[in-house]
């Protein structure tokens, strides 16, 4: 969408201000001015709103306001904001009123826009998280790309906020679960290795599907692994699921696994290291064991292209895979019966499976 058509679009939607705008343009006579002002309403404002709503959702303000209208004082208390800063919080909330997402009466704020009301609901939490991911990761790399290149700067793992990633990856959770349900043998005991377990939800899902499943879940980041271990304890799965901080490439365990899973993390491996990582995963499988790898793939979708961009600018990981190429890498790594399946027609999310050859009869 180019800027001109955007401006036209905005004109159609909000007639009167644009009329004013045109008047003002005439008055000011600066050729760049009209565009700038047009952007403030039709282009800049959505960005403001996205940032405001994402923050309001992430901090829990939306949920509180959905329960009942609140004054800044009680909100500040709930968010553990000092008394001195309460006026600043009020200013921030006023911004919400300006943007039309909040309303105010008797000094108390309430939800006003449909977007705000929707995002306040628990079931849209993943959308809120995805929004936050876009703002925190995708926007900066779009904004800073050329400058980063000029300065020779790269993104690092520290630039990622694990909790945001974990929240936003829940968008694809139903798809991952579908892939797990299709692959997991529930008729017998299964020993699972989950590489990059994140919060551990996928292991939990597998453990519930198969009561005889036991798992080793590893994550590269110590704090993520710690959180996963706490989650596992909370879910009462400590007996069956062991969580360790660990790296697939150096993990020293016996080839005991019937299933190795990698969900949404193959792009954390640089492109040319994927085959060796997959080889390693294969070496940890029992003969006849299976690998399940789920990931979004390149598809022209702008969100995924932005994610791809992020990884291109990072000093770790690599681009999102192309389905055919990743399937070939699995084969190169020694997997048999390699398959790449779309889990939802039209969606760029894929499940790859491959088996380690059994002992010939």
């Amino acid at each position: 969408m180019d800027l001109l058509s955007l401006a036209k679009n905005v004109t159609r939607r909000t007639g009167k201000p644009v009329t004013d705008l045109l008047t003002a343009t005439r008055i000011l006579g600066t050729p760049r001015m009209p565009l700038l002002l047009a952007l403030s309403k039709g282009f800049v404002e959505p960005v403001y709103r996205a940032a405001f709503l994402s923050s309001a959702a992430g901090s829990g303000i939306l949920r509180r306001l959905a329960e009942r209208p609140c004054d800044p004082g009680s909100l500040a208390e709930a968010l553990q904001i000092g008394e001195r800063d309460t006026p600043r919080l009020r200013t921030w909330l006023e911004m919400g009123v300006t943007l039309g997402d909040l309303g105010r009466s008797d000094g108390r704020y309430r939800l006003r826009s449909r977007a705000a009301k929707a995002l306040a609901q628990t079931r849209y939490d993943t959308v809120a998280a995805a929004l936050e991911e876009v703002l925190r990761f995708h926007v900066p790399v779009l904004l800073d790309g050329p400058r980063m290149l000029r300065e020779g700067r790269r993104l690092s793992l520290a630039d990622q906020d694990g909790t945001v990633i974990a929240r936003s990856s829940r968008v694809v959770r139903p798809l991952v679960e579908r892939a797990v349900a299709r692959t997991l043998d529930t008729s017998r005991a299964v020993r699972l290795l989950e590489v990059g377990c994140g919060s551990g939800v996928h292991v939990r899902y597998a453990a519930r599907l198969n009561p005889r499943l036991s798992a080793l879940a590893v994550d590269l980041q110590p704090d993520v692994a710690d959180q996963a271990a706490r989650n596992v304890a909370e879910w009462g799965l400590t007996d069956r699921v062991e969580v360790r901080q660990g790296d697939l490439r150096t993990l020293d365990v016996q080839p005991q696994f019937d299933l190795v899973t990698l969900h949404n993390n193959i792009y954390y491996f640089p492109h040319d290291e994927r085959v060796s990582a997959l080889r390693r995963a294969r070496a940890l499988l029992a003969p006849g064991g299976m690998l399940l790898l789920t990931t979004s793939c390149r598809s022209g979708n702008s969100g995924l292209e932005a994610l791809n961009l992020w990884f291109e600018y990072a000093d770790f990981g690599g681009p999102l895979p192309h389905p055919d190429e990743l399937a070939r890498q699995l084969e190169t790594a020694g997997f048999r019966d390699v398959r790449a399946d779309r889990l939802l027609p039209g969606a760029p999310f894929h499940a790859f499976t491959g088996t380690r050859a059994g002992v010939p009869a």
């Binding site: 017998r188 020993r191 007996d239 016996q254 005991q256 029992a286 059994g358 009869a361």
Partner: protein
């Protein structure tokens, strides 16, 4: 000796005490064992010469070397390693060596002598270490340090639990008696404490074999008044424990001439009993004596008061003599019919505490589901299904028959009951104390359940067996690539849980094939008798299944193929023939040609057959894959000249199955019916074999984990050796893997010793009956007296054959001695004997039934066989010429 150095601390002659000689050392400085030997020597008893290194020497060693500081707060392992790594200071070493030189530098046994050993209430047996057959000054000093270090073994710590410091330790150095015969003696009968019965157990070679239960032994009772032998049970003794080379004790074969004869003559028994009476008089109480015989002279190694009251029942049982594990009403307890006749063919015989506790696990977690797999709706109370008596597992036939009454084919209880009763049980007055299963609504619901279940089962019969085979190979291949020594405790726990799940599924899966095979056999027997009359006599045993389809028969052919491959590679065959059994595997793998042979022939063979072993439910028994000795023995046997597999196959195929002709005379509908039943019998027999392999593979998987735990316990010093795994409780192994605590928190050394004593006690008892009603009184049991030279049993495979008998007590050790055509005489057999069946002229067993696996295989090989003779192994001697009549079920010794 360095006596000139003035700076050296004073020598320690006063810390070396020659036992039995005058000395001033306090008993506490000698430790329990040395003090007892000292007293025995003073009493003039025949004890080999010995000296003791007192606790003061040990304390001085700690002080002088600075170890005392180091070990004060160290953990057990660090302390142990520090002691082992510290040189004994020269003056101390000199004193030890001087005493050794004075003795004449013989081979010696070096034993630790704990201060608190045998302190009245607690038996400290096995607490500390023993090093046998030590020679040379350096060897002696190493052994001494080893004994000192044992003060910090977890085993010792386990005994001390609660009372703090390790204290001190003395060491006994005693001349080693290279015994011709050894054993133990009890001045009172351990069975019921019957008076005037001195019980002697004797084995060939060193007594260590007896203690570890690895060699068979003779049993005698001597009257303590007349010193006459009043009872004698002589077993066939194949192996003995002996020094293989200086410092290495191991099993070796007993000379053929000494195997059949009693270890001790009546005169020797009288002499030994006389010594025992003197010991008892000296101490004034009943004694448990360890003795050895060398060049006709007796030596006493140890004597101790019998502190343990007679081990009462087998643990939980309310009443001694009843196998029940839980309290039962009187009429049930006294009216229940018990049997151990080939139950699953894996429970036969005396089991170790580990085996028993695993059987108990099976009872609690698997058995009821097995019943459900047969279409039984109400599977009852798990605790009632099985029982335990004198280390033997029994099936509760009354309860089983009662519950099986829910299924139409077994509504008549006699169908089930009859299968498990041996002739010593009189059923005329037997009434099932559980009664018949209620009819009415409950009965109808059960019938519906059975019908639905059976319909499903029949539809899925073959496919299910195939799934079990696939699953077996998957689990086998997976486990074969795992190195359990490199797995964490958590990982091992996941493994054990997984394997127990596999075991459950495979056992439950196997059961319908097993029971259906004998169900169709029963139907066949009835129909033959009804429709064919005399002509149909024994028809059910004359039909042959398709030989190639029987998995265990196949295993004999596969060994044959491996033997041929070895023959084609003379270098490989040389390794197999020349290396000692325990080194063949290593030697093959280390050799280029051998490695290729291993990969191409042995590995596939072991994949197909390796998880077999004898009495597979007994976890302590190694499987072929764990110890391929037997496989190598059979390769040696099969590769020797003189016969070929063609001989075996010809014999088998040459057998004329006349059942077809007999059937021709029947009217078509009856013929079709019979043929259908025969077909189903064949199918189930075949699938039973296939799925049995899946089932026993899961036991092998479990065994691997248990032995890995055992290895860790040995490493931690809780167990002396892997042999002691036999005394563990299976549930403790599970608890250990589920916990993060130390080994001693879970494994109580006192319990391990109690289990060992109980097992030793069981071994000494006469074998309990195969079947009995109510309770069994071991003291009232009259040992069976062989009734002349003619034995009667069950004719399991028809045919009459005359041949030389060979009594086989130990399959692994004797497989290579067996000559083709000989009559195999043994206590009982199972699938692992199949390769030997293939070359046997006939098979005779003490225990067995028509549908024992071995009976089926004997029929397949067309080998005449008589089973369940009860005492063939006692009546028949190796080399006797015997006549086996498999149709009549008789065995006659034609020429003794």
């Amino acid at each position: 000796m360095n006596t000139t150095d003035p700076t050296a601390p004073a020598r320690h002659p006063e810390h070396v005490v020659v036992l039995g000689a005058p000395h001033r050392a306090a008993p506490s400085a000698l430790g329990g064992k040395a003090a007892r030997l000292d007293e025995m020597l003073r009493a003039g008893l025949p004890v080999p010469p010995a000296f003791c290194l007192t606790t003061e020497m040990f304390d001085g060693f700690l002080r002088d070397t600075g170890l005392a500081e180091k070990v004060r707060d160290a953990d057990a392992r660090t302390a142990r390693e520090a002691v082992l790594a510290t040189e004994i200071p020269q003056p101390v070493a000199d004193a030890v060596v001087a005493a050794y030189a004075e003795m004449g530098r013989p081979r010696v046994a070096v034993r630790s002598s704990a201060v608190r050993e045998d302190s009245g209430t607690q038996s400290f047996a096995g607490q500390h270490d023993t090093v046998l057959d030590v020679c040379g000054d350096d060897g002696l000093l190493d052994a001494v340090r080893h004994c000192w270090a044992s003060l910090w073994s977890d085993r010792a710590a386990a005994y001390r639990a609660g009372d703090g410091t390790p204290g001190s330790i003395a060491v006994v150095v005693q001349e080693m008696v290279h015994a011709d015969v050894s054993g133990v003696l009890f001045t009172v009968d351990p069975v019921g404490g019957r008076a005037h019965r001195i019980v002697v157990e004797a084995c060939q070679g060193l007594g260590e074999g007896l203690v570890s239960g690895r060699v068979s032994s003779d049993f005698f009772v001597v009257d303590d008044r007349s010193l006459e032998v009043t009872e004698e049970r002589v077993r066939y003794k194949v192996t003995k424990c002996a020094p293989l080379e200086p410092g290495r004790i191991g099993l070796t074969k007993v000379d053929a001439a000494a195997r059949d004869v009693p270890c001790l003559s009546r005169g020797q028994l009288g002499e030994l009993a006389g010594i025992a009476v003197r010991v008892r008089d000296h101490y004034g109480c009943e004694q448990d004596v360890e003795w050895a015989l060398r060049d006709g002279a007796f030596h006493l190694l140890q004597t101790r008061p019998i502190t343990t009251a007679r081990p009462a029942a087998d643990g939980a049982a309310g009443t001694a003599g009843s196998p029940y594990v839980t309290e039962q009403p009187e009429e049930i307890r006294t009216g229940t019919l018990w049997s151990r006749m080939d139950i699953g063919e894996i429970f036969v015989g005396l089991m170790t505490p580990l085996g028993l506790s695993f059987a108990r696990h099976y009872q609690q977690h698997v058995h009821r589901d097995c019943a459900a797999a047969l279409g039984v709706r109400d599977t009852g109370d798990a605790d009632r299904h099985m029982g335990y008596l004198q280390g033997h597992v029994y099936l509760n036939i009354s309860y089983g028959a009662h519950l099986l009454g829910q299924c139409p084919p077994t509504r008549d209880q006699r169908r089930f009951t009859g299968r498990f009763v041996s002739e010593e049980v009189d059923l005329t007055r037997y009434r099932n104390p559980f009664g018949t299963f209620p009819a009415g609504l409950e009965g109808t619901r059960s019938t519906v359940f059975w019908l639905r279940h059976t319909a499903r089962e029949v539809a899925d019969l073959k496919a299910r067996a195939q799934r079990m085979v696939r699953s077996r190979l998957y689990e086998f291949d997976r486990a074969r690539r795992l190195d359990p020594t490199r797995m964490s405790r958590r990982e091992l726990r996941a493994e054990l849980d997984r394997y127990l799940g596999c075991f459950h599924d495979a056992h439950v899966g196997y059961m319908p094939y097993y029971i259906n095979a004998f169900g169709f056999y029963g139907v066949l027997t009835e129909l033959c008798a009804k429709w064919l009359g005399d002509e149909g006599h024994n028809l059910q045993n004359r039909i042959k299944t398709d030989m190639s389809s029987l998995r265990t028969v196949e295993s004999a052919k596969e060994i044959w193929a491996v033997a041929q491959a070895a023959k084609d590679a003379p270098h490989v065959l040389r390794i197999i023939n020349d290396e000692p059994l325990e080194r063949i595997e290593r030697a093959l793998r280390d050799d280029a040609e051998g490695r290729e042979f291993w990969d191409r022939h042995m590995e596939p063979f072991l994949r197909a057959n390796g998880t077999r072993g004898h009495q597979e439910m007994e976890l302590t028994h190694p499987r072929w894959i764990d110890d391929p000795s037997y496989v190598f023995q059979m390769i040696r046997r099969y590769s020797a000249d003189g016969f070929s597999i063609e001989d075996i196959l010809r014999r088998s195929s040459g057998y004329h199955d006349t059942s077809g002709q007999v059937l021709q005379r029947l009217p078509l509908p009856k013929r079709k019916a019979l043929e259908t039943v025969i077909g189903l019998y064949r199918l189930c027999s075949e699938l039973r074999e296939t799925t049995r392999m899946s089932m026993i593979t899961t036991i092998w998987l479990i065994r691997n984990v248990v032995y890995e735990v055992g290895r860790r316990l040995v490493q931690a010093g809780v167990l002396h050796s892997l042999d002691e795994v036999a005394y563990l409780d299976f549930e403790d192994v599970r608890r250990y893997l589920a916990s993060a605590g130390g080994e001693t928190e879970v494994f109580d050394r006192g319990r391990i010793d109690t289990a060992r004593r109980l097992h030793d006690h069981h071994r000494r008892l006469p074998e309990p009956p195969l079947a009995f009603i109510g309770e069994y009184d071991v003291t009232a049991a009259v040992p069976p007296v062989a009734a002349g030279a003619r034995l009667t049993g069950l004719g399991a495979s028809p045919g009459r054959v005359v041949g030389r008998a060979r009594v086989v007590e130990d399959l692994v050790w004797q497989a290579d001695e067996f000559q083709p055509g000989e009559i195999l005489v043994t206590r009982y057999t199972d699938a692992s004997w199949t390769p030997l069946f293939a070359i046997a002229g006939g098979v005779v067993t003490d225990v067995g039934s028509m549908l024992s696996h071995s009976s089926i295989v004997a029929r397949e090989f067309n080998v005449p066989s008589v089973v369940n003779t009860r005492h063939a192994t006692q009546v028949v001697n190796t080399g006797d010429l015997v006549v086996v009549d498999g149709a009549a079920g008789t065995v006659e010794v034609a020429e003794g």
